[in-house]
Amino acid sequence: MTPPATATPPRPADSDVRAIDSDVRSAVEARPADAKPRPAAPEFDRPAAPESDRRAAPDPARPVETEFVRPAAPRPARRGGLAQRLLGTKVADVLAGPHDVDHYLELLRPDWAVRKIRGEIVDVRHQNADSVTLTLRPTGTWPGFRAGQHVEIAVDVDGVRHRRCYSPSASAHPKSRNIELTVRRHPEGVVSRYLKEHAKVGMFVGLSVPQGEEFVLPETRPRRIVLISGGSGITPVLSMLRTLTDEGHRGEIVFLHYARSAADLLYAGDLHRIATRHPNVQLLRCFTRGDDGELTGRFGLDHLRRALPHDEDAAAFVCGPGGLVEAVRGLWAEEGLRTPLRFEHFAPPVLPDLDPDQLGTVTFTGSGVTAEADGSTLLEQAEQAGLSPTHGCRMGICLTCKCTLQDGKVRDTLNGEIHGTPGEEIRICVSAPVGDVALDL
């Protein structure tokens, strides 16, 4: 997972990417191809409305457009019965201590939770051979999401808990209770393959709170909204489309989607239904290997003109593979469009080839100290740099010295194995840096 380029909300403790013991095989893919990196900085000036403003009146700087202003109210958390509320009390905490109430609920009532968020799979749909669409019923702790946000789900594969981000594709409108995720199977994706092959009704997955503050519908809905997507990048913009139609948005919505062919098109039926029911929704399907859509070819000026004839009071969103996002951003800059464009894309995994003896720079981010690597362990390097990391045995058994690797790779001095995922906890007494390394110390 890439570190967020912009401030993302603090992630709850239960979704932290935990360390894997450095000796143990590298279980977390460096940059999973089936996962979506956090959205990059958007080209959008208007800051996201603060939490408290969500239900508040529209931005005073803008003329009031009563028809189009519909603040997206976050869905109120589902209220549990008396039993569930009792479980959230302090007394219940003490009775369950030193564990938490959820520790026992998981055994007794997995669909209840006090702090953690879990989702029960209530429907599994295979739209095509490559993807699977899951409907999750979240526990009452799920706070609801804003269309365009993503959520981290945790599944156990071969004993190891993996976490991946996916964007819910269902409406974020309060009336829609469940979370819908479409997962595209990637040939090497541990999680996507597992879900495609093994997801069953009744299974539980762990959920994080929704994340991402940038790639979301503006609180004040503009007159025209252009949603551009490619492949499985359809999910967050579909959620926006469904949210807008659910709240009765009357402005024009253009849904421009790229797929290889009509057979590959996800949510074909749903899109068709929405377009026929809502005259303000214009559906532009474009198949790169076929001409049975409304458009043909790749994204270019002609497509843009169809989607956005007037460059005023509009907002545009693009989500898809890198090529599409770059093409859209490039054209936006070329044309000097004023319509704000927010984007999100899937990055392919980047695994640099590393020479195990390669030396680089070690950055101790907590203390702001950097040092040239000399081949010794990170603990020794830190001490040479004048730091005093907490440590114990200096031989990899007591785990006292574990700290978080933020970037780069390390070599396990006990067995020579090279590993390292951002966020992984490593034993610095038996880890030597390979190339550039950043350590939270």
């Binding site: 156990d156 785990l399 006292t400 006990l414 067995n415």
Partner: protein, 465 residues
Amino acid sequence: MSTPTAPAPAKNGTHVDVDDTFAVARSDKPLSPKAPDREAGPSKGDAKDTSAVPGPLHAVPHLSQDMLDAFGREMEAIRKKHVDDLGERDATYIRSVIKAQRRLEIAGRAMLEFAFLPPLWLGGVAALSASKIIDNMEIGHNVMHGQYDWMQDEELNGRTFEWDTACPADQWRHSHNYMHHTHTNIVGKDRDIGYGILRMSEDQPWEPYYLGNPVYATLLALLFEYGVAVHDLETEEIRYGKWDLQARLPMLKAIFDKVKGQALKDYVLFPALAGPFFPATLSANVAANIVRNVWTYSIIFCGHFPDGVEEFTEEETAGETRGGWYVRQLLGSANLTGGPFFHLMSGNLSFQIEHHLFPDIPAHRYAEISVEVKEACERYGLDYHAGPLPWQLFTVFRKIVRLSVPTGAELQDYVERPRTSRLVKTAAGAFRGARGAARGTVGVARGAVEGAVAGARGAVAANAA
């Protein structure tokens, strides 16, 4: 010896003394994984080949440094094999143990709400104590060694796990994972030898305090969780007038909070839920905690103290390599024999040898690992200590009783030892403590008197008005 780096401040800033001693050992980086044996080429000769030069460890003079390192490499190979194989099997195992433990706990607590019925009292105590034993040993102890960190499950993370006992997990991670597992059975460094309370080794000089050895041992067994809780405080230093209360206050606070939480839960809230049957539930919860204490004490004392287990000196381990470390772990531990259920209930600490060789490999694998270790031990002519629990426990208690009484030589040594300074220090420490207590009492009394006087004055004034 030169010390290349300044001794780093120890954890909590309270173990400076400990780190100082370690700095000596550290100066030549003997415990570093880059110790000589890693650079040495594979020198796998005939394991029985007795070198002319005696090896560094007095217990196994027939093993030269090279052979210690060769043994160490074999252990590393076993370790790698199992680490590479971690997966679904281990995850399923620990998750099913956790499930069983939760079921036992819920069933036990439910039964104990009706503890006034004798069969439910008995059944509840059995279920609850079994649940606590599994929570502390097979789950807590092993998870906190980081055995399941690779699962990436925040509930099974060795650095954040908390367990149902009086000892705060953080302090345990220091006293056990670091102090005990690094310095296993080095007299003067491994504070698990006697827990700072008992005399468990001939190398601990006798003093009259140790006449009470059997009594302390019995009390420790009954209150073991509290013994473990105060272990990291190094309270034995009180006897020598060296203990610094000020520095240990944060640790005391953590222990107090943990003990308070447990007492509130086991001795107030759950009994209160039983309403009029409060005493029955309370007595059952006390009983369950005591059963757990005695059981864990028995298993743990049989790990390092039975007859035949070796102890080491700081001198012979000063230049230790990783190979030497492995051999020391092997010779300093003893296994308990028994069936699969026994091993589960002992948290697989019945495989104490394998646990000390591979503390971060999931413990349920120790049974299979023990076959490989035993085979290697035979080839290297190393003793592999094992015995059934009752016999091992008997030898441990025999030792506790035997070491409470000095031999003639030990008595003579005690009489001749210059100990005035220690006596003075102890007396001074006792005096300081007594003075503090007296001041506190006087302060409280004065406060009370002043309060009473003020109250009386107020009353008089009110009357006058």
